[in-house]
Amino acid sequence: MASYPRDFRFGGFVVSLIWLIFWILIIVALVGLPLIFIILFYVPLPEVDGEVLTPYLFLTSILYPQSAIPVIETLLDTTFFKVAVFPGFTYAALIAAATIFIERKFLAKMQLRVGPLYAGKIEGILQLLADGLKLISKEIIIPSGSDKLIFWSAPIAFVATAAAVVALIPAAPGWVVADIDVGLLAVFAILGFFPLIALLFSWASNSKYPFIGGLRALHQLIAFEIPFILSALSVVILSGTLNLTEVVESQIQSYWFIFFLPISAFVFYISSLAELERIPFDLPEAEAEIVAGWLTETSGMIYGLLQLGSYIKTYALAALFVILFLGGWAGPQIFPAEIIPESAEAIIPVSELYEQTDANAAFWFTLKTFGVIMLMLLPRGISPRIRIDILLHTGWYKLIVLAFINMFVALALIYGGVLGPGGLLVR
């Protein structure tokens, strides 16, 4: 990679290596270990099979796998793990990253092109990492007349709100960060924040084009809240609960709701495209008309945060679509009872960590979510941008009417005794 400096002497290189190792050891000894101990003393470690876990026991258990597995198992059930890893942020961020990459390749293939190719030596796999690293290291320009506080906090609020929506979405039977009874209502409440953030940010950036973009974002997201909620309402009518996990259970008992509510699924899909400001409803950041809409003044990591937030929102809305209409994690059982046939008495008893139903549920959920995400990426390749008044017209007149039609169908199904408690189709 880097060419050798001309005055390179191997001896000098070895001396610098030794110095490096010497100093790393000093830093680890003087700074690293005390830090770990302090953390372990304050963080309440779970007690494992009876006895309270002390830091020493914790450190020793890392060495022997038998005693390490129970510790990991207890850690898995903590909410911190759920927030940080599985249905939470890392999972969403990974899917968002995969979405960005798939979108660029998918769009390129639709346009007879090749798409990012040389970034990661294998078919451009690291293109996303390159974009992220570049954005991190770019200078962030805050326009002089702008309202500094809002200009700074809006992107962070944007990502936080997107993550909040992710928190409410159950990925597998037990695996949800906040399993609250009014799950669906909470999702819409949080989704109500996005127009506010868009307007605040664009107004704070103190320039004309973002201001127009911000107003358009406000109009668009408000106009599409109502059909959005109405289409989800027919699902609530059928499943009888607002709690997302129970919605999925009710679908598991009967059939997926998409067979009964195709129109409201379509309305939900269209208004989620509008929520996400994707191509046909790309008004708030329409390049050709208003430079880059409310993203005009974003540079460097602010732009990165907003992009990450919008792609996490894509994952969240696709996952919501899957839960409401495609039966969440319902799917045929394809995972074997245990990953490795006779792994019970193996050296590393992995089987305790592996649960068949959870793995299967997570697999099907992810598969369906990616399917819906691909569906959401499609319009970017085939349709131009819509005009603002046509957008509002479709939002207010056409979609609301469709949502109502399907609501009546849902009511008819309930009162006709086909679905709901004791219904014909309920297994």
Binding site: L112, L126, Q127, A292
Partner: protein, 171 residues
């Protein structure tokens, strides 16, 4: 080495050594990673100065597809871009706008002077309204000759720019 550690001034020596090692330990690999990131995602700003923009459009088309190198020209605002391709002749009316665009771009920014007119005024050297070369306005990193340069030459220019970024210290 031991005596050095014990003297009173040894603490700030230790601190400076510490920061120096940290910087060196982090800088070289981190610097290399960030440079690598910058190489593979150059976003040109949408500023067409003259007729070379036709060849730039052809370069971002399906056959020559500069997106293979991570160069997407779809960003409306210049705040997100870090590469100006001066596409052709810069006239005296466009010059202040070009400089204004260059100043408003966030910091690690590079300039490719595309076409003979951008390098030295080219065919229009004796016209009353054309600047003989764009060096006076913006610091140019890579010159791409040709009138208009073929898309392959433009891509070779981009690869030269990537080479230059790879060697430069991150600032």
């Amino acid at each position: 080495m031991k005596k050095e550690l014990l003297s009173p001034t040894s603490f700030n020596v230790l601190a400076s050594k510490l920061s120096d090692v940290l910087v060196k330990a982090l800088d070289t690999p981190l610097g290399y990673a960030i440079n690598w990131g910058r190489i593979w995602s150059l976003w040109p700003v949408h500023l067409e100065t003259a007729c070379c923009s036709v060849e730039f459009g052809a370069a971002s088309g399906p056959r020559y597809d500069v997106e293979r190198f991570g160069i997407i020209e779809a960003f409306g605002s210049l705040r997100q871009c870090d590469l100006i391709v001066v596409q052709g002749t810069v006239t005296r009316k466009m010059a202040p706008r070009l400089r204004m665009v260059y100043d408003q771009m966030p910091e690690p920014k590079y300039v490719i002077a595309m076409g003979a007119c951008a390098i030295t005024g080219g065919l229009y050297i004796d016209s009353y309204n054309v600047l003989p070369g764009v060096d006076g306005i913006v610091p140019v990193d890579v010159y791409v000759p040709g009138c208009p340069p073929r898309p392959e030459t433009l891509i070779q220019g981009c690869m030269l720019l990537q080479e230059k970024i790879k060697r430069s210290k991150i600032r």
